[in-house]
Point group: C2
Chain length 431, copies 2
């Protein structure tokens, strides 16, 4: 179990959420029943599908969204005394539905539907968006990588290229989207993500000779370890690696140069030395395109860093959180939306299902406005209850999210296999 | 003062840092005196200069890099018992020099020089890189924005588009690079970054009419507030805003549409209504190019979100942390470097100064290998002591970092004003 993180999440938000609250408390509108929706207006340019991640983290953050004394003290110059009083007893008491973690999504998928009062729900805007925008960007990139990698494992090793806490979330999101392991030890501690790692160039350089370094590593970590063979000369290092560890050596890692050419050469050399089971792991600025280009090379695993944690060109999803319905003066729930040509919102409480053919292939994202779309018999409802009357009910294991992702991606048309740019692989239909 | 964050930072690292430690402890090389260097191999493509940020955060993280009982428990299946014993009493006891926070940098600038034993210094690799790579990416983008914005304030409002903790660090880094304020309340609490904010479209939509919303906001936040005028019809909203708040209205905000055209039209309308002092704030997917394009428009401030927190196309700096020298078997300090054509490292302990003309214009980044470059009389040393024998000595205020940034950027050749792609504005010279 991860250790409890006790810090309040309530200040991980924007100043204006608090000033809106203050003004609404004063004008008497703060407690109007309201529906907010978190959704994407589009996929990142050229992407065929997206992947939802961060659901479990959002539920944790929601539970910790309370205003303790030090939090309230920090807001003394931000809002007035009546607002501080109201915040002191704040606990979200509404309902939340959402796409399950690992689910695929498309433009206008209603990823979260938050029903509560305006006051309670508006405060969550920034934090929910931060978590969903970041984690889903990483998962969406990760899913394309694991898709093209096929049976070969992908290992997340991008911690050093992103904010130290974003790194932990990225390791978790990559795992949801099919990565086999991560280098990040905090992700292991908090979320149980499997971790791996052996050595860097500095370890080789620390020793007087490469042979000393290899011996030191094998002595300590065993023959099944992965030796890094590109500090000096690859051919000599591979020879030395097998000499030191024997043909039972676990793996060698290549971290520079033309990886396809090198891998082919190293495979031949390893086989000639009898190390036919020794695996070849490649790292060095890989993305989904580089992984696809290595499909025919004798590579046994991919270590992915920068391009994973930065969403492979799309470090954020552009999700927005909009008021789509609220109680009117006469007590009815009324649909609302900003009028805009460039920033489209669709008013109204949404429901969603994935329309499927009888053989189970996804055909459309059907979004019902104010009503549940009719299930044709082969369809799948997408919104699951996450919070009921303020109580988290949607918590699940990371393994469950991994399985959902595999199932959901497996339903999509085969066109997702293409790494080239294209339109969303299924259309979104409003009903 | 920010509240003390007591959580250990020791697991915000990669698995292999720990396995290297284990193997080095066993081979007897762990305590060899070592010098690690954190540096960029290049600037992001087309950029003329970079900005160092995260220094203060790195010093905080270093102080919290200790292995308490729960941290050690999490490592039980990662390393062996002797390694856990060694970690239990870990405290960094070495020396660190670095570029001051806010300083500009160029390819191969030795941003951090860490001198200690291998064991002590290798463990810091991932965490130092995470902090520097993220915070400097944001500061580098922010500096270009504040440069082209000139006297008009830039306000950071990107929290929702990045990981919730990265958002806090981004607000801090943007402030170092000249942003006037942020929307992020945790950045206010922890670092004293000024925050601002008034309302979103949801506040207008919550009320029965736009007039109701404007009245509610002005009643609560005063006439000096900023009213958001693009929920329905801009012209009608501006008329209404001045009617409700009077000509003393603080500002109006435009968040969609063609901002240059709209700002010009709104300025004329405000002036005609007598609201000649009412400012016009623009937001909506701005980056440095959009800010530059609005230079001639009657705009009084820029709110910047996504493109700031994602480093305006370059969300990470690509800094690396390499062993550049270590004690040899005979006790001397020996330069070391990986041999590689595509990943260049220069061995040896580095020193650095900014060569300047007699009139104070930067001419070159001079990096001395193993010795201090000679100051021609107009030059400026770049490395300052940050940690001495394990004690943090380089802590300073954010205001000091802001001032350093302005001075350092002010020294650079005027070519940095061009937002077009180019080479680093001064060359790096190794001596």
């Amino acid at each position: 179990m991860p250790p409890a993180v006790t810090r309040s999440t309530a200040l991980l938000t924007d100043h204006y959420e608090l000033t809106m609250l203050q003004a609404a408390l004063r004008s008497g509108t703060a407690h109007r029943r309201s529906v907010f929706e978190l959704f994407p207006r589009r996929l990142p340019e050229g992407r065929r599908y997206g992947v939802v991640a961060g659901v479990g983290r959002a539920l944790d953050a929601l539970e910790q969204f309370t205003f303790d004394a030090s939090t309230l003290a920090a807001l003394e110059d931000v809002v007035d005394a009546p607002t501080l009083d109201w915040l002191a007893s704040y606990r979200f008491s509404g309902d939340v539905w959402g796409y399950g973690e690992g689910e695929t999504y498309f433009p206008f998928s209603p990823l979260l539907v938050v029903e509560s009062t305006f006051a309670e729900a508006v405060l969550l805007e920034t934090l929910l968006l931060s978590i969903y925008n970041h984690d889903s960007a990483v998962a969406s990139a990760a899913s394309r990588m694991t898709l093209v990698a096929g049976d070969r494992p992908c290992i997340e090793m991008g911690s050093r290229r992103t904010h130290e806490e974003a790194a932990v979330a990225a390791a978790r999101a990559a795992y949801v989207a099919g990565f086999a392991a991560s280098s990040n030890l905090a992700a292991r501690q908090r979320y149980g993500v499997p971790t791996t790692g052996t050595s860097a160039h500095s370890f080789t350089l620390l020793h007087d000779t490469e042979a000393d370094a290899f011996r030191a590593q094998v002595d300590s970590l065993g023959r099944d370890t992965t030796l890094l063979v590109d500090t000096y000369d690859v051919t000599e290092a591979v020879r030395l690696a097998v000499e030191v560890a024997g043909p039972g050596l676990g793996a060698v890692r290549l971290d520079s140069g033309d990886l396809a050419v090198l891998a082919t050469r190293v495979r031949a050399q390893l086989d000639a030395l009898g190390a036919t089971k020794t695996r070849i792991i490649v790292t060095s600025d890989l993305d989904e395109h580089a992984i696809a280009a290595l499909a025919a090379a004798p590579v046994d695993g991919y270590g992915v860093g920068t391009e994973l944690v930065t969403g492979s060109g799309h470090p954020t999803c552009g999700f927005v959180y909009k008021l789509v319905a609220r109680e009117s003066a006469d007590g009815d729930l009324e649909s609302v939306a900003k009028k805009s040509v460039d920033k489209v919102s669709v008013g109204g409480r949404k429901y969603a299902l994935r329309r499927r053919t009888p053989s189970g292939v996804a055909e459309a994202e059907v979004v019902g406005i104010g009503h549940r779309p009719v299930d044709d018999g082969d369809d799948r409802a997408l919104l699951v209850p996450l919070v009921r009357s303020g109580e988290v009910v949607g918590r699940e294991s990371l393994e469950a999210a991994r399985e959902r992702h595999l199932r959901s991606r497996g339903e999509l048309p085969v066109a997702i296999q293409q790494m080239s740019r294209g339109e969303p692989v299924i259309p979104t239909v409003h009903e």
